[in-house]
Structures are given as structure tokens and as C-alpha cells.
Subunit: 585 residues, 2 copies
Amino acid sequence: MNDKIERTQERILSSQQKRKADFILRNAQVADVFNLQWKKADIVVTDGIIVAIDDEGIFEATYEEDANGGYVIPGLIDGHIHIESSMLPPSEFSKILLPHGITTVITDPHEIANVAGAAGIQYMLEDAQSAEMDIYVMLPSSVPATSFENAGATLNAQDLKPFLSHPNVLGLAEVMDFPAVLNGQKDMLQKIIQTETTRNIVDGHGAGLDASQIRGYRVAGIQTDHECVTAEEAATRIQQGMYVLIREGSAAKNLRDVLPAVNSSNARRFLFCTDDKHLDELIDEGSINHSISLAIEEGMEPLQAIQLATLNAAECYRLYQKGALAEGYVADFLLLADLTTCKPQAVWKNGKKVAENGEICTTRNDSIKVPSLILESVHIPKLSLQDLAIPFQNGNLANIIEIEPNQLITHKKVAKVEVENGVFVPSVEDDYLKLAVIERHHHLGNIGLGIVHGFGLKKGAVATTVAHDSHNALVCGTNDADILLALAELQKMQGGYVIVADGKVLSALPLPIAGLMTDLKAEIAAEKLHDLHKALLRLNPELKFHLFLTLSFIALPVIPSIKLTDTGLFDVTSFKHIPIEVISE
Amino acid sequence: MNDKIERTQERILSSQQKRKADFILRNAQVADVFNLQWKKADIVVTDGIIVAIDDEGIFEATYEEDANGGYVIPGLIDGHIHIESSMLPPSEFSKILLPHGITTVITDPHEIANVAGAAGIQYMLEDAQSAEMDIYVMLPSSVPATSFENAGATLNAQDLKPFLSHPNVLGLAEVMDFPAVLNGQKDMLQKIIQTETTRNIVDGHGAGLDASQIRGYRVAGIQTDHECVTAEEAATRIQQGMYVLIREGSAAKNLRDVLPAVNSSNARRFLFCTDDKHLDELIDEGSINHSISLAIEEGMEPLQAIQLATLNAAECYRLYQKGALAEGYVADFLLLADLTTCKPQAVWKNGKKVAENGEICTTRNDSIKVPSLILESVHIPKLSLQDLAIPFQNGNLANIIEIEPNQLITHKKVAKVEVENGVFVPSVEDDYLKLAVIERHHHLGNIGLGIVHGFGLKKGAVATTVAHDSHNALVCGTNDADILLALAELQKMQGGYVIVADGKVLSALPLPIAGLMTDLKAEIAAEKLHDLHKALLRLNPELKFHLFLTLSFIALPVIPSIKLTDTGLFDVTSFKHIPIEVISE
């Protein structure tokens, strides 16, 4: 308390010009997100806090810079992201996004929690502490995602409770299990109620829910939705008392469709998020800065778009000192090189310059040492050819997973497949390949086997431990030898992506942090990722879609129509496991 | 927790039509304060929470009413009030304001805290519990208000801290002592910082402060201001990151002046409050309903005015389930008889009708038993004529308090006064009357004496224990005998207002709760108040101003220019005590 008082005393002295300020950014066009106006002024900072927006030029500071009349806006806030989707740990993620002007993100460590449970959340919180960016955490509400697969952990309300008092925890992350909510399932309600009781916020996940279902969500205490895909849907959510996070990520791009719902009366209830965005796109275009740029392109007033990305996000997530440029606010801001593209020339975090011309310029935020539990999370058993055999009667029909390129959904295809010696044999001609999901958390020995159509591999195999939401080992291959090799390589590098063909590893990106994130520098990881994509073309020269993305959702048994988990083939429509072989009755 | 879960389960079931709702108000024009639109729908309530805004008429309930197409708006919120100024305890205050549609108030028990300290706050919190209205408390930040007088208590940061975890405490009340803030006074900063740490809000009191002083306020952590008197000042406050509470009370009426600052871009940062409003006016015109009506009269869109009075106030004070009509919100609403006057035909609190046609219709909320400490707070010593003597040299000039009718400020008048036997003698001809402030809390024996000009009493004396902010016994009289009688009567009835003349009590309103609030029903207290005002005319038949109001601020030594406390005459301009007698040098 004494330290806080002394720091506040220094800031007050500085605000009253009784002490030199630490830093002044002079001659700025300062965004006033309360009135939606620009104001020509100096931004005066002491101890990381704005102590004056001074339009008289009367302040002095130890260090000064000149904005030369450029636009300065508050640091941008991503309302909902899964950092793991970037394949970077929080500290490295921070280095990539700060140059784009993102100074605060609210992350849901849903992926690592499904691998490492509470220890995964703890790791993300701790690594985030070493980041220059402010990284807040929403506690994953659905670990495991379903009971039809084996994840690395189970987190019930009691497991989450201790985290609620952590200063960087803002609430409960996207409550996906809407049947649990609408049926009043006790542990789910406890998760929500204990969050509200500590005055934290509860995020929703209203994908495809109608107004009646949203009623149940709202009554349960859910306050946000980032799954709106139309303006009409968004307008309904607002009317029902929700905040709407307009999502623009790698897979889901909803901004252009949802934006027409925003008007001057209801704008305060809208903010931006990315949800999932890939490493290469994050490096190239950033995240929320890109959302602002798109919104301006769609005709929104720049200051209105900036308000969504700053003040509105801060209000929604109850970050009362963030999201605006005024006295008492945290000194996070960016000088724009160009307003309409929202491209930052320089970025300040807590009043300190952290990026310039797209490059990070801070020596801080080295990653923390990753706990060994999290670095050794992949436990794929040594498998034999026999383990991969799919017994099959010649002439029978097979239930086949037919993918839809770049989509999370699949279709059930029923067709004849090739059989030799009583077992299924993959066919590159018909594009009936073998798919396997190997439980990799608890040595359970589960191997789910299936047949997939649509990946179009002509040889080799592709394997990964990024397989939503349980992140078991997932492999798709044209022959069992390459499948075994890919799995062995995955085990050796403790997770990641691997491409093999003809008994050789063609390319690999190790993701040893929980099998989800790299321990490499972002740029090196990006190069390896680029290399992986090139190697994929050697397996399928005609490849036109994002194979990894499509593959990574093939094990998620909550999205239609037919999926494969470590416990076997799962028919999402009938919500039960089904055999591969269609036995005629 | 189990009870909360079960209640949430029932509400969810009801939202999904799997259980009859408790209550439906059918055929309403429902205010959507998120989009600023009206929506024709039924409002469906279970367990005090809105479970559906249903535009299809598909819900059923145990009990129904019909709004016949009338406008229904969320319950109104008063952002800042001192309930003591109504002279009613919270439970009785609730009965008067609910019929006007005020369902939530945020009160600063500054007055009772200056009399009874923490016990006074505790009493207000407990009595509020028995009220049907939601009464939240901001903790008084300035007890005592100054060091130039003796209040009943001192509350430092440590004294306030235990209250911060009370569910009905929302933060720290109006921080008035701006020099303490700008000088970084430790206990003041501790009060603010401990409030922020518990994620509560800190109210400001920026009366007359300029943008530079507000910088210090903001940097210290102060978030609101209800003292704006011009639109320009309000616009500056908003730009500096504050919420502005537009005040319309009995003494201070700022609405018409401040309202032009509100526009569609910044409206979210404005709300309404009354600060201080008297019993008779509360009964006659209500409070925030009156603010809405005035705002509409001034040309504001009705829904915009309603939003200020509901959603904006709820957001500012972090009452996340209040201020809107949508699923998950508390079922506080009013059916309007007329939109432009904002006159409620009926009022529901937690889904239960509590008022109809201006009359309360609930049997709940009896006041709690008042602790004896608070009922026996007036300790005026038995005084003699000698105690009231003001020694004076004949021919010398006197420093005289000259009042300004209906204003809090006074002026210093220097004039010759009548002297007999070496003591000052009041003169009704010259209107130089005697003023006395008698310490009444701790038997200190302090008697402050002074001379006042402007009250115009022709006979008798007027006394009260309502004397901001220390609420000592205050008396103004034309002769010492009546002054002594008035004080004796005040002691007998344990505070209140008393009017005496010619050795007789003409009229009295006992306020035995801390010497500030009545234990009578509001209507009876209002009659007695009316009677008091009539009796005043017998002392001054020409009376044209609010004598009690003007009198009650004459002991407040923070407002210019010259005041009287129990420690003597105080010159606010030079900020020190001065003698009555001007001694020529």
C-alpha cells in the first residue's frame, strides 16, 4: 500500500507540474474516445500513467518525442483470443503484436488447459507476466470439451475458483456447453456464479443459438458473444443485453457481415476480437488494427472504429484504466503512420516505446522457463503396424469422414473401400486415406481409427498434436509405415507438425510447449511453418486449401457431422460412436 | 452457493418455458436502452429476474397484468444522494420515492457519519436492508469535513476499510478535500487506493476545479463529478475521463445548464443525480423522474434521457444487472402514465408491484430499531445567559456574517453593533441577530458565538441540529432567553428543528435519528415541516427565502466567505478563525 501511495503521490505532483514528467509525446492529434473528437495536444506521462493531455504546451519532461501532428490513439485491445492458436507462448506473442499496436489481449487458454489443466493456465499467467503487453486470462469453462474423448485434464468449478482472485484473471471464458447451461447443470452454474460473485465477467459462445436459447444464457449470467455471423443476429444479442465481439480471425471472418448492426445508439456494446489467428497472418497484418482498417473500409467513422477497439473493450472487460487517452489512464498508445489503415509508426506501452516501424524495440519480456510437465506432455505409445489395422469385410460399405476444405464441419460419406487380408487399405486414387487419433496424455492406450476423404495426399503422412479440443496425436496418411514414422517423430519432438513421405521426414515444426506452442522465436517458427506448407505440396501438388486448419478440427466431436476421437468414430448428428464398417442388417 | 444455483436453475427453466413464470406484464412498449428503441413485447419475470422480453406472446405465468400498450422503462437510478437531507431514514425514503419510479439510489451517508461515525454508516446499511428500494452506499471520505470544527466522529482509511466488502457498498463518496488530494495526503490516498483495489468506484466533487486540478483528481483515481454547473465544464470533465452526474436537487439545480453538453457520441458518460433534495419536494415531484421530465422539456429524446437515468447510472456504478429491460436483468420497471412527464402509473421492484398511481402498495420495509447511540446523539449542555454573552467594547466594529438568501456562500460585513453593559445586544431593527453553534457530540463545552445579518427575524429564535457538516446545535435568535429555550427544546427532542418566540415553542419537527432524520411517517413529517414554515412567518412575516436551508450551511467552513463553527468565527478566505470584535490597531 505504501508503495502505491508513493507512486500516486509522484504522479499527482507531476500532474500539477511540481515535478518533471517522465515523458512527453508532443504535437499529437489525440483521439478523444469519449467525445469522438480529435484534440491537438501533448501527452504527458509519469510512472506509466497519463498525467496530462496538455493543449497549452506547458509541461516539461525528462524525455520527449514529437508526433509531428500525427494521429495518436489508445492501445488496441483484443477482446477474445486463444493465444495458443498463434503457436507462440504469451511472451513471444506479445513481441509480434505490439508492433501492430495491440497492447492488451484477453486470452482464453482453452487449448493448453485441455492438455495440462490448471498447470497450463498457471504457465500462461506466468509467462504473460514477462510480456510487455498486458495479457489477461479468462478461465476455460469447458475442459474437457466433451465426454466423447480423452483430454489431458478435467477442470471443474472448484479447480477454477483459486484463479478468480488472480489480478490478471478477468472471468470465465466462452461457455460453449449450452445444453449444460440450459439444463441447469450444477457444476456449470457453479462456474458461472462463482465468477459473478467475484465481480468477474462470463463470456458466451452463442454459435447458432436462437433468441430463446440466448434467454437461458442471459439468465444464467452470460454477458458476451463473439460468434455472431450476421448483423441481424448481432442486433438481437445487443437487445438481449449482451456485448457483441465482432470477430475477424484466420478461419472465422465475420466483420463485414456483422458491422452493419453497429450504429451511434448501440456502438458502446460492440468491440473487436480475433478468436483464432495464425502466426503468419499475425506477423503480416496484426489483429485488431486490421479490424479497424476493415471497419473504416466498410464506411465506419475512424474514431468510432477506434472506440470499439479501445474504450468499449475496456468497459466490457472492466479494465477501468484502459482504452482511453485521458488523465489517470494507462499510457498505452500508438502514433499512426496512416489513419485509414491503422498502421502504427510507433507504439508506447506504459509510456515506454516498445515498437517502431513494425519492429519491437524493447529488451524486456524473455519467456519464462517452461515447467517440465508442460514440456513433456506428449506420450504416444510405441505402435506397431498391427495397432493401425482396421479389420474390414471385403465388400462391405464404410462410414467415411468427408472433409469440407477450410471448414470445421464434415460430412458422412458411405462407400466401398479397398480391403486386403481382412483389413482396410488406403487408396490415393479414391482419396480414401487412413486417419488415427492416439490418446497422448495419460498412457490410456486409446487409438481411434477412421477413413477420411478429401485431403488428397498422394503419398506419405501428416501428423500433429494440434487437434481441437483435446489435442491428442492426430495423423492422416497414405500408408501405415509413414503413419508410424510421423507419430514417432511427433513423439520425439514432443508435439508439433510433421510431414513424412517414403520413410523420410520432409519437414517439421516442433511445438514442445504442451504440444501446442513453439519455443522458437516467432520469425523462425514462421519460416518453418512456411517450409511445412511447401512440403505439403510434395504430398498433394494440387492442394488449394488450409490442410492443417481443416485437419486440426477433425477430432472435435461437437461440430457436425462425423468426427474421429481417441475413442473412435463419432456421429455428431446422432451424438454417438459408430463403427467404421457398415454392417448390413 | 447451492441456493444460488437452485434459483438460477428455476430462472433458466422459466426462460425456456419449462416452468410457468411468476409474472408477466403484457402488451408493453418496452424501452430498449441499448438500441434506443421501443419494442412491443411482454415482460416475463421469475424470481425477480427478467427471463424473457417476449414479442410473440408465448409465455405463461402464475400472475399477469396488462400494460395496455403503455411505455415501460427500467427502474430509475439516482447516482448520488444524501438520504439524510430528506430527513427520512432509508426505509421511509424508499416508500416516498418508489411511487415516483426510483428503484435504486446510491447514497453518501456523509451527514450521519459526521454525527455517529461507523455506527452511522452501519445503521444506514441496515435500515436500507429493510427497504424495498435498492439503496447502495458510498463511504464518506471526509469525516470530519474540516479541522476547524468538532464533528461527532473521525473516519480514516482504516475505519472505512471493513465496509468495502459489504455487498451494498459501491465505493468511496465524493472526495471533497481537493487540497488533500493535490498535496498527496497519505490517508486520503489510502482511502482512494483501497477502494480501487477492491474494484469499487471513487466519486469526486469537482466544484469550481479547473482542468489542471481535475488532472490531479483523475491521476489520484477519482472517476465522477456531480458539481458541474455549465455545459462547458461538463464537456471538459468528460474529455478528462470522468462520468458527469447531472444534478437537479433542491438547492443546486444544474440540469438545464449542463444538458447541452450531452450528445449522441458522449451520452454514455452522463447520468442524473439529486445530491440533496427536501422532503416536501421529494413527495411532490420525486427525483430522477423529474430530471427525465426536465431533460425532455429541454429537447432531449425521451429514450436518451431514460438511458441516462438507467443504463448509464448502472454502468457508472458497476451494477451490471440493473438499468435495462433484457433477459438476466433485475425486474425493476415502471409503466408510465405519460412519457414526457415520466409519471409512473405503476412501479415494479424485483418483479413485484410496489406502487400504483403514486401510492406505495407494499407491506414490507418497516424501519429497523434505531440503535440507542444514534437516538441519543444530542448532548447540548445546560446553558445560562452568561454562556451566550459576546463581550464587546462600545464603539468598536464587528465582523458580521451576512447571508445570501438561498445560497451557501456568505459575505463578511463590518459594522457597528449595539452594546449594553459590555456585551453585544441583538437588534431586530438593524437585523443584527445572535448566532450560536454549540458542540453537541462529545460534551466538549464549545460554544461558538457570532453575529448574523439577513435572516430578518423580528422576534424569537430558530434552532436546529441540521448544520452541515458537523451537525452541531445551531441557533439564531433575537434574544438570549428564546435562544436558551430553543436549545433546551432541541436537547429534549434529541435534535430537529424548533421555532420559539416569547418564551413559547411555536413549532417543532423532532429529528431524533442522529439529530438529522425523523422517526415519523413521511407524510406526518411533511405536515410538521409545513407547519414549521408557517411558524417561521410569525418570526419574519416578510420571509421570501428558504431560511432553514440557508441556516444549515452557515456552519460549514469550506464555503466562502465567513462562517461560524463550535470553535468560533471562521474566515474562509484567510482560512483562519477571527474575532467578532474588530480591534483597531
